[in-house]
Symmetry: none
Subunit: 186 residues, 4 copies
DNA sequence: CAGTAACCGAGACGGTACGTCGTGTCTTCTT
DNA sequence: AAGAAGACACGACGTACCGTCTCGGTTACTG
């Protein structure tokens, strides 16, 4: 079982150093001091391994804060996510998204183990804000999640430069101003 | 020169059928009835070829309509883009984005030849809408573009199911309501 | 100790079914319902195991008959050996000879435990025949053994079809006619 | 085509140095400065390659001399063969025979390309000797070949030490004395 | 209108990595 | 305490493509 640990660590290190596509299973095995067979015993592909590695790193983390102010809470959460994506995790994540484009199983696992759980958690917090009258009740929370997070991924996948905190805060502000309850204009 | 055509056509056909990552240069050559050398004579890599193929297909297309109503114009434009991404082009595009994650030259070319030009065109239309008083003047048009298009790419890259027209219209509405000029509340 | 039996039996069965080279230690272990470790505890290699298996099967068997007629005795012995080599034992034996070509220890053990003892026994019978005046006294009994048995092995190793009894009898006759005492011709 | 040459040479060198079973295709490729693919392009297996290598080395060689004296001719021929088998070729040949025990195609090819042609040539010379009254007409020439050559292979495959010229001459003498025409004893 | 270049198909080539199999060693858990 | 079960590092397998490289055999341009 300690072989698993060595493999996950080696995978993260190598991928963050050289980029997902430039890392071979053989290199991970060598770097972990492990036979290739041992990797294939536990994971069916590089994508599979990368997914577990990223989940292992991120864990249950990034639970949603709830101070009562949805705007402040989302900002804090988004900045935290952006910080993560700016480091090792970001390289890993970009690789997995790339892999997901051509490997359906990885695509499905990406949704199931990463995107969906966090989307759900976010929706819960948003629903509360709707109840509090801080957000429009007529917009599906799922769509709110998309509107809020999409720009972050857009920057991650299309730009080389990371999303700066200032920009993130602004993008969030603009998005939220479209999601606030319309003042009763009687 | 007709070899070029055959190659571009074969590339699009094969990639849309099997997915970007499952297509080899050799397969393209064979399918185009061409020697590998001929492909390498004109393109330096599969990503390079795919980029030209997609540009060849899409062309200058999708110029921004201007009826005076920014909301209607954007909707039309977005729906058109979504329609494109739902077919052959979408598969190709997803492959290129994937490739871009690990091949800097492809990433740069993706920005230069696809993203940037269209972003510029969109910004121009948005600037006009700002002048017309239909959009807030205090938001950078570049950010508006991100807010408007990001959800589309989010769906393309993370979901298996395509973005439905209804959803697209809604997402746009919500986004735009955050970008409208704030009524003087004196 | 019953594990040993199961292993030897499994080895013979598998090898005679699939051929020596197509049988792995793992397959023998699985078929014997035994852990690999148990095999390695007692034998150092597949060749080693095969050698013991064949000796176990053949045992002390094939002792040389002595009716007083060397020709008849050899014929009976040769036919018996040929019969053995035509069944399971033959497949095993061919595998061991093959192995012996590249594994010196197996080569040595093949000589020590199989070839030599039987050669000695044969020489003893031949020496008696020489004393009886049935064979030339000026030919080393060891060479006689070679002349008598070599054709049998030649057929075993080079031909797919087994040596037929008729052929064996003939070959022996021809060989022996060269080994009979030269009649005093003066 | 010069890759083929390099491969055949490397195969012979390596096999004669380390023994057939201890040489891998990868080692041959590396030693020949060639990709594995190139080997597999031309040969289907190590046995296949070894067979061509040995034929390439031996060539049409070893044609049967005909001085009119069958005994002298065979002796010369046998000594020549023994000389060959004592060097590089012998190691190669033992490996091929071993391989032939478990690989039917190699077994067949061994017969077809090496054993059979030479057996035929030998039979032709023997037939002539029969006509000349030097050998018994009632023994199939094919059997004569077996009787004459079998001891050579016996020594090659079962002993580590090579067959010495003196022994070979003796063995041949004894064999031939059984094959000479029986003097009319009426 | 012949000569010569550019372009092409075909595919051999040296490589790298793949995912699998079997080896012989070792540890763990069961009985 | 013995032994099955199987994880493990390792090395080789045979395959798939990579990108480079000759090879001949066309067009089609030019001198």
């Amino acid at each position: 079982m300690e072989a698993r640990r060595a493999i996950l660590d080696a995978a993260i290190t190598l991928i963050s150093e050289r980029g997902y596509a430039n890392v071979t299973i053989e290199a991970i095995a060598a770097s972990a001091g492990v036979g290739k067979t041992t990797i294939y015993r536990w994971w069916s592909s590089k994508g599979d391994l990368a997914l577990e590695a990223i989940n292992d790193r991120v864990g249950e983390a990034i639970d949603f804060p709830d101070t009562g102010d949805i705007s402040a809470d989302l900002r804090r959460q988004l900045l935290e996510v952006a910080r993560l994506l700016d480091g090792e995790i970001g390289v890993l994540f970009r690789g997995i998204v790339a892999e997901a484009q051509s490997t359906p199983t990885v695509g499905a696992a990406l949704l199931d183990t990463i995107i969906e759980p966090r989307t759900r958690a976010c929706e819960a917090r948003l629903a509360k804000a709707v109840d509090d009258g801080q957000l429009r009740p007529d917009v599906a929370t799922r769509m709110m999640v998309e509107l809020i997070y999409a720009p972050l991924y857009y920057r991650l996948l299309f730009k080389t430069d990371p999303a700066r905190p200032r920009d993130i805060a602004l993008l969030l502000d603009y998005t939220l101003s479209g999601l606030r309850p319309v003042p009763a204009t009687d």
